[in-house]
């Protein structure tokens, strides 16, 4: 190969620094996440989370292959059941399932029988009869994934339930942080924005504290739920208070569609106090990783210069979303696991 040796990258030592020691994988394999649905981060333990992140790491290179397909889920039917609008989560799940060779069915409620008044239970029973193996569900009410899960032997993945949780978003965020920082332990993560209405914030608070990170919340008092400190986070009302130690700045979208009442005087005022622009970013002591679950409101919580800047990991988050969802689909897909208790 001397003529083309230049194409070869130097290989690294075979067994890499991974939390699952090489050689022990045969004796491992566990009774955790893969036997259950994935509905709440709250009910996962740290080991489950680490296993998902490690699997995602192994799947990472598949997206760089010329043919992005592996046969792991051949013959499985994955249903995207979205009662709420979504572009990135639905597409991300669809790509993840297709990369694993599953058959994917997308059901958008605007065109489904839900508009004819079919109940969630009946929709689930129909999907069961059609042979769905995994149902990915998004709904505007918390608890709907659990309700669907009770209807059959399929596995359920929560893709966001109202103000409840959004576990896959949180796992892809952890994955993105871990890839950049090496570990999550002892990092200071500041989550800023509308905490009350944010399922992403909730899942991330559970996940980050489980992994040993310090979580800080910055928001107007009207957008912080009562007793939030009980989850092990620190609540601040001014961004200046966290500038000294923040490693990761996690911005949340101001959810216009959920703000029927006024929680702050104007978007302009919100942007003034809680929006992040390049100038404000410079005031932080450390180099911060800026993250956002998307879709972003440019000019509100994030300015153009930051959104398009070097410190921003929004695009990585999107790519990692596919990888992490592949890992989740793979781990959850095992046949023959008994009916589980829904947490």
């Amino acid at each position: 190969m001397s003529a083309t040796t230049g194409e070869y990258i130097k290989t690294t030592p075979a067994i890499k620094d991974r939390s699952v020691e090489a050689g022990t994988e045969k004796s491992r394999g566990g009774d955790h996440i893969m036997d259950k649905d994935l509905i709440r981060i709250r009910t996962l333990d740290k080991e489950d989370i680490v296993r998902i992140l490690d699997q995602a790491e192994s799947f990472y290179e598949i997206l760089d292959r010329p043919i992005r397909k592996v046969p792991a889920l051949r013959g499985k039917i994955v249903v995207n059941l979205f009662f709420e609008p979504s572009t990135r989560t639905r597409t991300s799940f669809e790509l993840a399932a297709k990369t694993l060779s599953a058959d994917v069915v997308n059901i958008a409620t605007k065109v489904s029988s839900a508009v004819k008044g079919e109940s969630i239970k009946d929709t689930a029973l129909t999907l069961k009869s059609l042979g769905a193996n995994i149902i990915i569900v998004r709904h505007s009410h918390p608890g709907v994934p659990e309700l669907i899960s009770k209807q059959g032997d399929f596995k359920v993945i929560n893709a966001g339930d109202g103000w409840g949780e959004h576990p896959t978003q949180s796992l892809l965020d952890l994955f993105t942080i871990r890839r950049k920082m090496g570990s999550l332990k002892d990092l200071h993560v500041t989550i800023m924005g509308d905490i009350t209405h944010s399922r992403v914030a909730r899942s991330n608070i559970y996940a980050l504290t489980k992994m040993g990170a310090h979580v800080h919340i910055v928001a107007p008092p009207t957008l912080v739920p009562a007793c939030l400190e009980k989850l092990g986070v620190k609540v601040h009302y001014h961004i200046e208070e966290v500038m000294e130690y923040t490693d990761i700045l996690y911005l949340l979208r101001i959810q216009m569609e959920r703000l029927e009442q006024s929680f702050f005087p104007s978007l302009r005022e919100y942007a003034q106090f809680f929006g992040v622009n390049a100038k404000r970013l410079e005031q932080f002591s450390k180099e911060v990783m800026v993250m956002h679950p998307g879709p972003i409101n440019r000019g509100v919580e994030i300015s153009h210069d930051v959104a398009d800047g070097m410190d921003t990991y929004i695009e990585e988050q999107v790519r990692n979303g596919v990888v992490v969802r592949m890992a989740i689909l793979y781990l959850i897909s095992r046949e023959g696991a008994g009916r589980h208790d829904v947490a």
Binding site: T11, A14, A22, E57, R65, A72
Partner: protein, 189 residues
């Protein structure tokens, strides 16, 4: 496990076998041109690196080494008791038109190698795929054979072959045993 165990190959034996295989690879391929070694996770990987080192000593040429995890391609993936962890795959050279030598520690049913070939084909069309194994213990279930074999060991299905390599297990040796405790069939494809 200890009572019925026989060591059928020691550190020097493994080394001699790999040196011979390295020479055979060079002989059969008339040099090391265009060859890429691919070790299968987990113990095929150190074997690939050892062959790389031996071939470098003989030929002065460093062959690229890829790492392949075949888990997603297993034909029994959905029937296992536990969902196995997928390890890293990293092929740092172009599969297209290269001569690939798959390296693994034991060939048994041939199913692992079938999976490995499918996994490689998904990354391009190799000019040729060859197979190097340290131990051939027979009992093939697919029409697959190894091109380079360290040692042929006719075994019974009740026996197990345990290849230990320093990089993974801390020691070198090949053990043959008969043990009814080792009933798990996972990982023995």
């Amino acid at each position: 496990m200890a009572s019925n165990t026989v060591e059928i190959m020691d550190k020097d034996g493994i080394n001699r076998a790999l040196v011979r295989i390295a020479h055979e690879i060079l002989e059969k391929n008339k040099g090391a041109e265009n060859i890429g070694l691919v070790g299968l996770q987990t113990r095929g990987v150190p074997i690939a690196y050892r062959l790389q080192r031996i071939i470098r000593d003989i030929e002065g040429l460093e062959l690229p080494v890829g790492i392949l995890d075949i888990t997603l391609y297993r034909d029994d993936l959905m029937h296992l008791q536990h969902q196995p962890n997928v390890n890293v795959t990293e092929i740092p050279f172009r599969v297209e038109n290269s001569r690939i030598i798959i390296c693994d520690e034991v060939i048994y049913t041939g199913r692992t190698i079938r999976a490995a070939m499918d996994a490689l084909m998904d990354q391009g069309r190799p000019h040729m795929i060859q197979l190097a194994v340290l131990i051939d213990r027979g009992h093939r279930e697919l029409p697959i054979r190894a091109d380079y074999v360290g040692k042929n060991i006719p075994t019974s299905r009740l026996e197990w072959v345990n290849v230990q390599l320093k990089e993974v297990d801390g020691t070198d040796g090949v053990l043959l045993g008969r043990n009814l405790d080792r009933t798990s069939s996972e990982g023995t494809i």
